[in-house]
């Protein structure tokens, strides 16, 4: 187990370093191999995490069921995006390809490292590293807009993470009252000692963590960097940002939730998450209407889904928690698919404007229909995995008596569905303008189609019949989160 974890922590970083020194063609290949191999390594962790109890690997590393779920989401995306990048980067100059490939590997490395950290302090450091690397990736296009987006991102996210650091420090203060001065902020001892922790610092730490890490999750009202960064980053980076980075930051909130729920009872942390979740969902479901930039549209959809996660945790019922964990994986696959599909459109049409993309079904014989399927899957139409996860969340909410919140969730998700689908059908089905110069039908690159197919396969698998190992992994993780 430890060997696999160490391999996950070394391989992507090594690939990133190698990419800087080799020819551009090889850099794309190394990235793809590293991505697929990393996903394989993560899969190797599943059986043990699904059945084993806790895996405290050392004082500083930890791989339990909850962390493996987030690793699965990131690992899959890393593999998919690495293949996609081979097509996306084709034709760019060698220096750009090398830097972008190295950045992608390093970014994936930081996101794979975060859920493996056994201490809240190391978790904070890993998430800060993801900010630093991804800010450089957002700026990599070297345009005015990219520089603006990167500046807003790094400033807002770093300020948010300073609050998260404050949260970590108060968690240490609370823990040190029980566990002694030389306690290293390891997660498990803190949860075990939760009943004896002083209440006020834990409450403060939890709220600061929700606001601080919530900045990177994209919770309202600290989401403002998100649409800018998602729209200006290169598409493979946008896919990783949306599908994985937001989830990894949510993972940090979940760890604080575990401690807070054990120390304070679940009432206070649930109420806080519910408030942030509903506000985010409301904002996002209104903002998806009338978005002119397709990547901003998808970015607001990410805010929506992060709101759903927060609401799901606030329900607290085991079914809802299982739904949340499934949602993390399904959203990673679906959102990455949508971004990768939209990326093909932006390459084909040379613009990100929704209104300028027309007749996609004819011009992109594969990516057009696949994009539509991806948007359907993202909007929770069965048999997508997102349908199953949202169904579980709503069922859990109704089961735990949160009728109003469950109803609000259903209404706002439906609203967002209309917003998304209006834009997507316009891009695909509205006929080209009369007299407009239209391109020849054809795909920019087969490498940009394959990962979308893989993503759809995963979504259908999660929706129709999740593998037994995965189901027991989720059950196990939900039990950990729900344990009082």
């Amino acid at each position: 187990m430890l060997a696999v974890v160490l391999a996950i922590l070394i391989l992507p970083l090594a690939a990133g370093v190698v990419c800087l020194t080799i020819p551009a063609r090889l850099a794309a290949a190394v990235t793809a191999v590293s991505g697929i191999a990393s996903f394989g390594l993560v899969l190797a962790l599943v059986p043990e995490a699904a059945h084993g109890d806790l895996s405290e690997l050392s004082g500083y590393l930890r791989a339990d069921a909850v962390s493996v779920i987030f690793l699965l989401a990131t690992g899959f995306l890393y593999g998919a995006v690495a293949i996609y990048a081979a097509g996306y980067l084709k034709g760019r100059d060698a220096r750009y390809v090398r830097r972008c490939s190295a950045g992608l590997n390093a970014f994936a490395w930081a996101m794979l490292a975060a859920p493996l950290m056994g201490s809240l302090a190391l978790l904070w450091i890993a998430i800060e590293v993801t900010t630093v690397i991804s800010a450089l990736l957002v700026a990599i296009e070297d345009t005015d807009r990219a520089a603006e987006a990167a500046w807003k991102y790094v400033l807002i996210a770093s300020a948010g993470l300073s609050l998260a650091l404050l949260a970590t420090i108060f968690a240490y203060y609370a823990g040190a009252q029980v566990l002694g001065e030389h306690y290293n902020l390891a997660v498990q001892p803190l949860i075990d000692a939760a009943a004896k922790l002083p209440k006020t610092p834990v409450r403060l730490a939890f709220l600061l963590a929700v606001v601080g890490y919530g900045t990177k999750v994209g919770l309202f009202p600290v989401h403002t960097w998100l649409p800018d960064a998602h729209s200006e980053a290169p598409t493979p980076v946008s896919a990783l940002l949306s599908g994985s980075l937001l989830a990894v930051s949510f993972y940090a909130i979940l760890r604080f939730y575990q401690v807070a729920a054990a120390a304070l009872g679940s009432g206070f942390p649930r109420d806080a998450l519910l408030a942030f979740g509903v506000a985010s969902l409301l904002l996002a479901s209104l903002y998806v209407f009338g978005q002119r930039d397709v990547k901003r549209l998808l970015a607001y959809s990410s805010v929506e889904h992060m709101g759903i996660l927060a609401i799901g945790v606030s329900f607290g019922a085991p079914a809802a928690l299982a739904g949340v964990l499934l949602h993390v994986m399904a959203h990673a696959a679906a959102k990455a698919n949508a971004f990768m599909g939209a990326g093909v459109f932006t390459v084909k049409f040379g613009t990100k404007e929704v209104a300028a993309m027309r007749d996609g079904v004819r011009l992109l014989p594969w990516s057009g229909p696949l994009f539509l399927l991806a948007v359907f899957a993202l909007s929770a139409l069965p048999p997508s995995g997102i349908f199953r996860s949202e169904f579980q969340i709503v069922a859990g909410g109704l089961g735990s008596g949160s009728y109003a919140a469950a109803a609000i969730l259903v209404i706002l998700v439906t609203l967002a569905f209309f917003g998304l689908i209006t834009s997507a059908t316009g891009m695909l089905l509205s006929p080209a303008r009369d007299g407009a110069q239209t391109a020849e039908p054809g795909e920019p690159s087969a490498w940009m189609v394959v990962p979308v197919l893989a993503g759809l396969a995963v979504l259908f698998l999660l929706g129709i019949h999740p593998p037994g190992e995965l189901t027991s992994l989720i059950t196990h993780a939900a039990a950990q989160l729900g344990a009082r």
């Binding site: 201490s119 302090a121 190391l122 450091i125 800060e128 590293v129 900010t131 630093v132 800010a135 450089l136 700026a139 070297d142 005015d144 807009r145 520089a147 603006e148 987006a149 990167a150 500046w151 807003k152 790094v154 400033l155 770093s158 300020a159 300073s162 609050l163 650091l165 404050l166 420090i169 108060f170 240490y172 203060y173 040190a176 009252q177 001065e181 030389h182 290293n184 902020l185 006020t200 610092p201 403060l204 649409p227 800018d228 729209s231 200006e232 903002y287 978005q291 002119r292 901003r296």
Partner: protein, 225 residues
């Protein structure tokens, strides 16, 4: 609070208060160079506080932390910042003097309000122990609010970056008073993380500066909605 503070507590409170004053100084400074200088002074105070705590509570780790923090935040970070944004700006651009969204007096008044809010709310939480003078923690909270204020009322990338760095100093102050025993390895990791963040901030400021030919953020309005 009813008894007089001991030497250590008194020193911690005085240093915290001085740090808050320096923060208001940054709010008023017109030149990037001077802002960075005040930041260095504030960081030096953090190191002094670490030495005081190390002596008082017999935590030898903190001497190492004080030295490392001093080397990074008093020397390296200001050098990096000055290199990346100091020289070209002071010649052809009017520094950051004209970047107020409010007029200076209102900005300071607003930040005094913020500081008071932070001070009294955290003061009421009664988070204190043998290692944590409640007053110093309340001042750290006030600093956090003023740092956010600095980022909001000044419309230039340099002030925003300095605002972030001083926010980090405020968090360091809070960490010293409530979490002095935190293992050195973690504190060190936090510091190196800060250094990396500063380099990235610097690179982005540089990119902004070459593109916009000013430090102002007033034109960063292309991405909306």
């Amino acid at each position: 609070m009813s008894t007089a503070p001991g030497i250590y507590q008194g020193a911690a409170n005085v240093i915290a208060a001085l740090m808050l004053l320096l923060e208001f100084g940054m709010l008023r400074q017109a030149l990037v160079r001077d802002q960075v200088r005040l930041y260095a002074a504030q960081s030096a105070l953090i190191s002094v506080l670490a030495v005081v705590i190390a002596a008082d509570r017999n935590l030898p780790d903190l001497y190492a932390l004080a030295a490392l923090s001093g080397a990074l935040k008093v020397v390296v970070v200001p050098l990096v910042l000055r290199r990346l944004l100091g020289a070209p700006v002071s010649e052809d651009a009017p520094g950051v003097a004209g970047s107020y969204t409010l007029n200076p007096a209102s900005a300071v008044l607003a930040c005094i309000g913020l500081a008071a809010f932070g001070f009294f709310t955290f003061g009421r939480l009664h988070i204190a122990g043998p290692a944590a003078p409640a007053l110093a923690l309340a001042i750290a909270a006030a600093m956090v609010f003023v740092a956010f204020g600095l980022m909001i009322v000044r419309r230039d990338v340099a002030s925003q970056a300095v605002g972030f760095l001083t926010l980090e100093n405020a968090v360091s102050l809070a960490a010293l008073v409530v979490a002095a025993g935190l293992p050195l390895i973690l504190e060190t990791a936090f510091l190196f993380d800060l250094l990396v963040a500063v380099v990235v901030f610097g690179m982005l400021i540089r990119a902004h500066h070459t593109k916009a030919e000013s430090l102002s953020t007033a034109d960063l309005t292309r991405l909306q909605g």
